[in-house]
């Protein structure tokens, strides 16, 4: 199936910047993983970060997410007007940043439903006492969020048949979807997706593309998305803008068609093993 970008995209408004990264520097030992990176993401857009393996794409997401060990050496990250450079991850989650991981980080021993319910953690407020006696308020809250998950998240990500299965036993492609579902359950404003298509077959890639577009375009989600992805077909189809990393530096920034043909981008990919610059279509 050949998708035309125009068919896939709906008209939407791209607003003012929601996330601004300014002069981000991050080194691991002697390795400069992020070298003076600046860019911004505008409300409502899908921004793709591409680049060869080891270019620092995941490091960038981890820094935006604030994972332990990923505090910027210098530079700033501003989300929605607030400087979040030194915030702990859970606080960033609370202001609406959510993510999936390159290497799946689900709670493998729990059911799919519990995984997604954990995505609702910060939207709920049952404390230990209410939870322990499980009466009235706690019961209502569990039911309310269960309903919401069934109607919104499972509906969007099409995983309702797996709800009571143990997550770790499910196929890889399904786990990728569950991770997206869990991230969506947080009701995020900014969604960071680290290689959501990696390891999926053609059909699964098409499904995943649809879910990502839903998350971006549907009223109830309305997520701004930063997508790190190697599948150029998908990147070219769904991105509003693409930035290119190479050795920790940003070497291009612009609309997909424009970036694709830049000489320095093509050069960056030269010498890369073929599989990283593939398109499945």
């Amino acid at each position: 199936m050949e998708w035309k970008r125009e068919e896939l995209r709906v008209e939407k408004e791209i607003g003012e910047p929601i996330l601004v990264v300014e002069n981000a520097m991050k080194a691991f030992g002697g390795l400069q993983a992020l070298n003076n990176i600046s860019f911004e993401v505008r409300r409502g857009e899908i921004l793709s970060i591409i680049g060869p393996n080891g270019a620092g794409k995941s490091v960038m997401l981890n820094c935006i997410n604030g994972l332990p060990g990923y505090r910027l050496d210098s530079g700033r990250i501003v989300f929605d007007g607030q400087d979040i450079t030194n915030w702990p991850p859970h606080k960033r989650a609370h202001i609406g940043i959510s993510r999936t991981f390159q290497k799946i980080e689900l709670f493998g021993g729990m059911t799919v439903l519990d995984n997604v319910k954990l995505g609702r953690h910060m939207k709920m407020n049952t404390g230990w006492w209410d939870g322990g006696i499980y009466w009235g308020k706690a019961v209502k809250e569990e039911a309310k969020h269960r309903k919401w998950i069934e109607e919104k998240v499972f509906e969007t990500c099409e995983i309702e048949i797996y709800r009571n299965r143990i997550t770790g036993m499910l196929p890889y492609g399904v786990q990728k979807r569950i991770e997206l579902a869990r991230a969506l359950a947080m009701g995020p404003r900014l969604l960071l997706l680290d290689e959501p298509m990696a390891g999926l077959n053609l059909e699964e890639v098409e499904d995943m593309t649809r879910f990502i577009l839903d998350a971006n375009e549907e009223k109830e989600w309305n997520c701004t998305i930063i997508l790190v992805e190697h599948d150029m077909g998908v990147v070219m189809d769904i991105s509003d803008r693409v930035i290119v990393f190479d050795w920790g530096a940003k070497i291009a920034d612009g609309p997909p068609e424009e970036v694709q043909n830049k000489p320095e981008v093509i050069r960056a990919y030269l010498g890369e093993v073929e599989e990283t610059y593939i398109t499945r279509r």
Binding site: N65, L67, P68, P88, P89, H90, A93, H94, S98, R99, F101, E105, L106, F107, G108, G109, M110, D114, K117, L118, G119, H121, M122, M124, N125, T126, G127, W128, D130, G131, G132, I133, Y134, W135, G136, A138, V139, E141, E142, A143, R146, K147, E150, R182, M186
Partner: protein
Amino acid sequence: MKLPTGVHFDNYEADHAWWKTRFVWIRMVLLLFVLLWVIPQFVGDYWLSFLNMVGYTILGAAGVQLLIGYTGLITLGHAAPIGFGAFACALSMYLFNIPYLLSFLIGMIAAGLLSLLFGLPCVRVKGFYLIMTTMAMQFITVDVILTQFLGPLAGKGRGGVLAIEPGMFSIGPWVIYSVKDAYIWMIIICIIVQVFMANLMRTRVGRAWMAIRDNDIAAEALGVNIVYYKLLAFFIAGALGGVAGCYWLTNLSIVSPEHFMFPWSLWLVGVILIGGVGSLYGHIFGAIFMTGVLEVVKLVLVPLADIIPGTMEKFLYIKDLVFGLAIILFLIFEPNGISYRWWQIKNYIHLWPFSY
């Protein structure tokens, strides 16, 4: 349709779950009937006090289960909050004449705070270093605070032994005096603790704990405040330890630091290892098994003592030997604990008509 309070189903599961619940309901009533009426009716004092020991072990191991099994925080000092709670309860009754139930509550809170205090380093450290702080809690609390400071407050007795008049443990008109009373009280407390824990684990707080246990990075990215939930786990586990300690005081009407030494902490860890880590049945099965083995060793050795002189002197060694063996055998043959086997058997029975 309005369902009774406390029972909630999603529409799509209603038919199924209703049945299941009625079945569960009948089973629970039966279990309660046996525990609260049949057993005290037909079981003698010796075995009732054996069951009280089992109950005390369950209560003690519940907190360890919460910390190790559900939050992934290894503790080797859980006897400390148990002992601290027992002493706090005893002292508030002995020194201030505070009524029993209120003292019980004070014991719980004191134990919870102690555990919280020694859990504070979890803000900075993980793994081995955190285990060290739990051991520090054990030795500082029991060997120093209880023995040197709290024990002597009672003014009499030696080695920090504290005794309470047995008649003082009263809840309204009910005085917990006999072994049977202590048994009934134990069952009530165990049920409350188990129900509370079961509810916790299926709601927000329990899920957050398990998330931290399984993958703390993902948990934090989901908005779980790891430090808060770890500290909460320490507090609640400590308070559960306090429950165990207060019950122990009630059961014996005497407490001594001797009761809360390091081996008891290790014992409780053994209980959940054998019973099943991360299962609400785990500490129950483990407590029954470990206390049961002890009893069997006693039953075998006491008659032997008449035949082979010196057996009783060796009792402690033989006991340790048997436990060492039991734990090793368990780790080899049933590394998931008794509760896992139980789960398998239950599934087998549920599927039984269709199992082929």
